[in-house]
Amino acid sequence: MRLAAAVCLLAACSNDPPGQATPDPTIYDPYPPNVLPPDLDAEIQRVRAENATIFERTVAEWHALPPLTPVGNPPVFQGSGYNSIRVLGTLMNFDENMSIHKDRACSFCHMPYAGFNGPIPSLNLTAVAYPGSAQYRLGKRIPQRYPYATFFPVLAYNSDQGLFFGGNFWDGRSTGYILQSPNAQQAQHPPVDPNELGFADTACIAYRLSQAEYRPLFEGLFGPGSLAIAWPRDTEAICATPAGAASFGGNTTPIELSDDDRTKANVVYQHWGQAISLYQSSTHVNAFSSKFDAFLAGQYTLTPDEQAGYDLFRGKANCNSCHLDGRGSAVGSTDTSAAADVTPPFTCFGYANLGLPLNPAVAIFYESTPDAVGFTPNPDGFSFRDLGLGTFLRSGPGSAANPNSDWTPFAPGADGAMQVLTVRNVALTPAACPTTDAGRVDAQGAPVPYFQKAFFHNGYAKSLKQLVHFYNTRDLFAYPVTSGHCPTGTTEKVDCWPQPEVPNNIDMTFGNLGLTEREEDLIVTFMETLTDGFTTPFPNADTFTGTCATGGSAATQGNDHLIAAPPLPPCAADICGVPPLPGPATIP
């Protein structure tokens, strides 16, 4: 099934009668059963169609924009400049042509109705990473929710605290050191990520923009000559060939441009990052329209359960020592202070290792053989370990080069650390499936349909209940086993947490919080008040055409899709053998 439909995708639907398509050798499928969901191809088409709806809406928005009139010096497009760049960034973000096979937009992995997390429930349940334009190359982490990501400052080491703050991505590798915005710089990664949009050359973005229907908008903003580049004849072919192809021999600028044109293409690539970032910093993404925002504005009273959940979040459970809510932590004491911050980010913009187990369902572990063009996404196979910020500081595999050697010595203290993601919008789901958690019933006792998400960088938690239960009981139910091997008589994620993937730097602020079942549920209820769209509809969150799920319980949600980890070979030398070495414990 999977294969046949994918062939159709690549070969623009051949005339083969259904079911008779010959397997396409260009399809990369190194996965054992159950890693990719059976409905993947259908789901890919669904999301692409939903995406097209948003793209078309944005085209209409573009056509309705007032003209661009430069005023003053430096010139400002008075009145219309902001929305013009926002619309341009939105078009870019939802444009499938910005990928090798013209079938993936940025938004494919980040849809508004999923709070900009991944939009495919079955994939969230299994491989957790998303297929890029080269079928089926998948990444190593869940698509990170990005509302409020624009608030992260440029990555910096704070020597007073001995901690890193800022950056985008789970591992902070989008430092922002050039554009001075980690978020703008972030958008420069996916186009040339071999597992995402897949171009071999950053100039392919300028090339595809030069062919885009909205080219006039780009030129109106950045100059009539901004896209005037003399493209060599083979540009089309190069931009349709997946990054990492052996034919490029490691060359990251296979399009042969004059120095002037290369510089132009680089400038276009900056505008690309900055326009997309403006979209993300606009109220279309950073909406501040949740119940909690209304509460802070004095326009909404939290229900008793929501308030109780909030009290736990900033009290007994101590969540706000990392997910800052603008107030002090009230753990073990009372704090009745008012919020000092009326737009609290629910992150400290820092990093921590929560001690999550390795998730053997993550696609990357299986991508250790070359694909049809000779590229191997993860030569380390099951020796791959996700050290997060630590790997980035060592310029390790799957990350980016670290541009500041002064930071490298801090790697051992950063092993396993991942970005403290905002809690805002973690519970955002399509209206048709109003919750993330299985087993809810409405006031009439009818089951509430849910939208399957995946939580934490490796998608290990499948419900918010499980997420809170992990914080609550990680240490209480710790077992020296890997996922899929909890002892008989225990249930994984209920009373068994497999060993952490990275045993160093595990934050001990939590792990045995002593919360009751009811208290866990109240914290989930509180987190749901952080969902945007309460005071004003969340833009473009209305396009979901898939199906919701019902049945089961939040505590064991997704357990029927657990994949047992094979015996793990030791951590690969290019990850754990690079100085400064991880320590004190050896990473198993």
Binding site: S159, D160, Q161, G162, L163, N318, S321, C322, G328, S329, V331, G332, S333, C348, A352, D475, L476, A478, Y479, P480, G489, P503, N505, I506, D507, M508, T509, G511, N512, P584, A585
Partner: protein, 144 residues
């Protein structure tokens, strides 16, 4: 499932047994934060133990590390466990939890606990010698 077991979770640390490192090392932080609740076994099972204590909020950096030197010979505390904890600014005391792993069932361990700030500077006090015994194979402390 886990048989109730009695284990020796006796902690030898007493206020008097607390030794302090050099004073005046860390300006602008409480002079030598003292232990308020001595290090004690919070939980132990399947090779893992968590030691927990509270001390005067050391102030300074947001993250401090509990550092436990331990071993099965009181004269040779050769292993080190080190765990980050957030201090909760503005609170009088800070709770430290340190995770020890790779422990053997039924074995008695000895330890000394201390804390350092986010840059590794000592918070000023190391506990006296404490001890705990790991529960037997498959058993847990506290029993449940």
């Amino acid at each position: 499932m886990f048989p109730k077991v009695t284990i020796a979770a006796t902690i030898l640390v007493a206020a008097a047994g607390i030794t302090s490192t050099s004073a005046g090392l860390l300006p602008k932080r409480p002079a030598r934060p003292a232990f308020r609740t001595p290090p004690a076994l919070e939980l132990a099972h399947h090779g893992i133990a968590v030691l927990r204590w509270s001390m005067d909020n050391p102030g300074g950096t947001d993250v401090h590390h509990g550092v436990v030197r331990f071993g099965d010979d009181p004269a040779r505390l050769t292993q080190v466990a080190r765990s980050p904890n957030r201090i909760n600014r503005g609170h009088a005391t800070t709770t430290f939890r340190v995770r020890l792993t790779g422990l053997r069932p039924g074995t008695t361990y000895y330890f000394r606990a201390a804390a350092v700030d986010g840059k590794g500077a000592p918070d000023g006090a190391e506990s006296g010698l404490g001890t705990f015994t790991m529960p037997g194979a498959g058993e847990r402390f506290p029993a449940r």
